[in-house]
Structures are given as C-alpha cells and as structure tokens.
Symmetry: C2
Subunit: 231 residues, 2 copies
C-alpha cells in the first residue's frame, strides 16, 4: 500500500503541479479544497476536474467562511488590483492577501492527515514568483511544521514526524510549468486568476494572471487555459 | 480605546474564566465559538449567554465541519468514555480528542485578530487538570505563537508581535474556579460535559464532568450548574 499524502488543491497551476509531484514521490493523494467565500467558485470546479483526471484517492471540499472576518479583496468587497507594474509584484502585502489563509488551510490538512494516519502534507507555496504573502515563506512553513508536530498524536506518541512538503518553494513560475508538463499536468484545466469572468476566463491583468503569463512566455509556449474556456 | 483581544469561548468553565481574565487585563473581548459538528450544540447556547452577560464587544459563531474527517468521540459515532478512574484521567490520548482542533480554532482566531488589528488571543487551555490532549501543552502553544508571528502582516511588517495568552495553563481546576468566582463569573451558565442530556444537564461521569466536580469539591462548594438547568 502506498503512503498517503494530503494535498492542498486550489485548482490553480501551482497546486496541480504539486499534486503531480506528490504522485511522483510515491504517494496516494488525498486532495483538499476550500469553499471559503472566495469571489468565484470556478476554481473549485477546476480542482474537481484535476483531482479526477489526475487520479486522486479522494477529493474533499471543506466549507469554511472567512467572510465572517472580511479584510481581503478575495473575500470582501474590495477591488482586485489590475495591471500592477511587474516591478511591484512581490513587493508589500497586497489587498488580495487573505488573513491567515494558509494557516487555516494547513490546519484542516493537519486534521485530515491525522485521521488518515498520514504524515505528509503538500502545499504549493512559492517564495519566488509570488504575490508577497507572508504565509508563503520558507521560515513560516518551517515554523508551521514544528508546531504541527507538537499539536498531534504523532508529536506526543513519537511516531514518524509530520512533514510539510513545499516542492515549488524555490522554483520560478517557468520551472514549475516545465516540471508540470514533464509530469503530464493538463494546464488547460487550471485557473490562476483572482477575478475571472462568470464563464471562468482569466482577466489577464491581476497579479496571478501576470505571473502565470510571464512563466509561459519564458518557456516560449502559450497558456492552454487561454485557448480553451475551462467551463 | 481599549486594546482588542480575540477570546476562544466554548461555553465551558475554563473559557468563561479566561474571558473574565482578559477583561481584567484591560481588553475588549471579541469572542469566537465554533459549530464544528459536536454531538450537542448546547455549549453554543451557553457561549452566547456568557458572551452577552459578561459584555463581549462581539461574539461570532464560525461554522466548520470537522465531521468530514471523523476520528473523534466528540464528532463521530464513538461512545464518550464514562467513569474512568481518577488515576486514568490525563493519561494517554482519549478518544474524545478531536484531531488538530485547537490548531484549527487558533487559526480562525488568528485570521480574525489580524482583521481586528488585534495582537492578543486568549485560549483557556490547561496542562494540569486536563484530559491528555497534545494541543493543550505549553510547548505546543509556544510553537503556535512563533508560527503565527511568521504567518501574518505583523510578522512581516514588524509591528507588535502576536501573543497567545493561556492564563489557565498552570492552574488546577480549583484555582481556576476560585479566580473565576473572584471575577464574578456565573458558572451556572457554563457547561463542561462532553455528553449532556438533550436539556443540557451534565452526565456527571465523563472526564470533563469528573474534573469539574473535583475542582468544586476541593473548594468545598457546590457546582451552580448542577443546581440550575442551563436551558
């Protein structure tokens, strides 16, 4: 029997690549997505298709409501910033930052991992081509892992320690895409946009769209998600 | 204006005392409870009454569903253990342990604290008269605090660090009750039982009931929740 890994799957380019890398590392994948009051639920549809196509052992969508708190352009009535200059991407913390989002997501992953007897959690955070979120940095992940090992039965009963895998953390967007293509990820199913149209087409100008476009451009290939509407 | 603190309020004896201690420390309290698939929702009714009576600045109930994962007598169809011998309380991890529960709860508290511009979270964990849960220990709380300070704007932008307050952590149940009575906590409104009757009466024999009874007995006073049905 293969070891089990919990994979945080948003339906975007990064998490889909992360899932493929978890498979290559020999794990059965238990994928977890969140309905957290995001502006559009289209990414959940993408996550579902990806989980199915890539052969997840199981896919769950957890309902949580970060809108109770507000405070982010992704969950509240604040405009998503468009056409930020390339030099501004990755500087400061943008309004699309969702308070403690990765901490909340990882905590649910930790709960599920414990029930599954899994000691491996995969998250597609990236500290290079990223949007400046504090909870995407390596020292944050290391601190989370340390806390997680004190939070659970594993920490108390001395079985194999829990590991937070962040295979993308030091990769450029172009490197991530290249690795994903090698592993057969179908990027036409993924969506990265913070503010897509009702039919799921990316806006092309938010930070996430710009970072994605830059990656495909560097590889000299076109983004398959721009050729097919992912409805 | 007073500083704001987020207080995790379950409706039990410990969290109610913690709320009173947050008030005494000079904070306005923003109380947070969870509907997390627990067997009985009676404790949420208690939390609501306590928040109102003790003058919370705000009280929110967050819907999450830990039942998606199962694995605990408090959320799944496993019997709550009754009449464990006093010597067994606090040994091993009981089936009432909910996977990563405090980690999930603290993560929502962290998100709300960030939105409120608060750097203070209060949680009524106790490492002395407790049920043997790994996420009630001082080293877990310290690791959580360290992680939280890397997870948030505060960690990145260098404002006042976030503090997880655990005023009960080294107190006996009797000491907690004594402190709560001094601060005017109305324990008739609180419920500690893991398995109360439909009308909210404690079973008297689960671990939580036994620890509570021991505390009142040591003080030579009777538990006001046993004299009045908290409906």
């Amino acid at each position: 029997m293969k070891a089990r890994a919990v994979v945080l799957l948003s339906g975007g380019l990064d998490s889909s690549t992360t899932m493929a890398m978890a498979h290559e590392a020999g794990f059965d994948t238990y994928c977890m997505s969140f309905r957290y009051g995001q502006r559009h639920a289209h990414e959940l549809l993408c996550a579902e298709k990806i989980a199915l196509k890539m052969g997840a052992a199981r896919h769950v969508v957890v309902d949580i409501d970060l809108r109770t708190f507000g405070g982010s352009a992704l969950t509240a009535d604040i405009d998503v910033p468009k056409d930020r200059l390339p030099a501004d991407l990755g500087t400061g913390i943008p309004v699309t930052y969702v308070p403690a989002r990765n901490t909340v997501f990882l905590s649910f992953a930790l709960a599920w991992a414990e029930v599954l007897d899994s000691t491996d959690i995969f998250i597609g955070v990236n500290a290079l081509d990223y949007s400046g979120y504090p909870d995407c940095r390596p020292d944050y992940i290391a601190a989370y892992e340390q806390m997680a090992n004190l939070a659970t039965r594993a920490g108390v009963e001395g079985v194999k320690p829990l590991k937070i895998h962040t295979p993308l953390i030091a990769m450029s967007k172009a490197e991530i895409i290249q690795e994903g293509l090698r592993l057969g990820v179908d990027y036409s199913l993924t969506i990265s946009c913070y503010d897509p149209s009702a039919s799921g087409l990316p806006c092309g100008s938010c930070d996430a769209c710009q970072l994605r476009q830059k990656g495909f451009k560097q590889l000299g290939i076109s983004d398959p998600a721009l050729r097919s509407s992912v409805t």
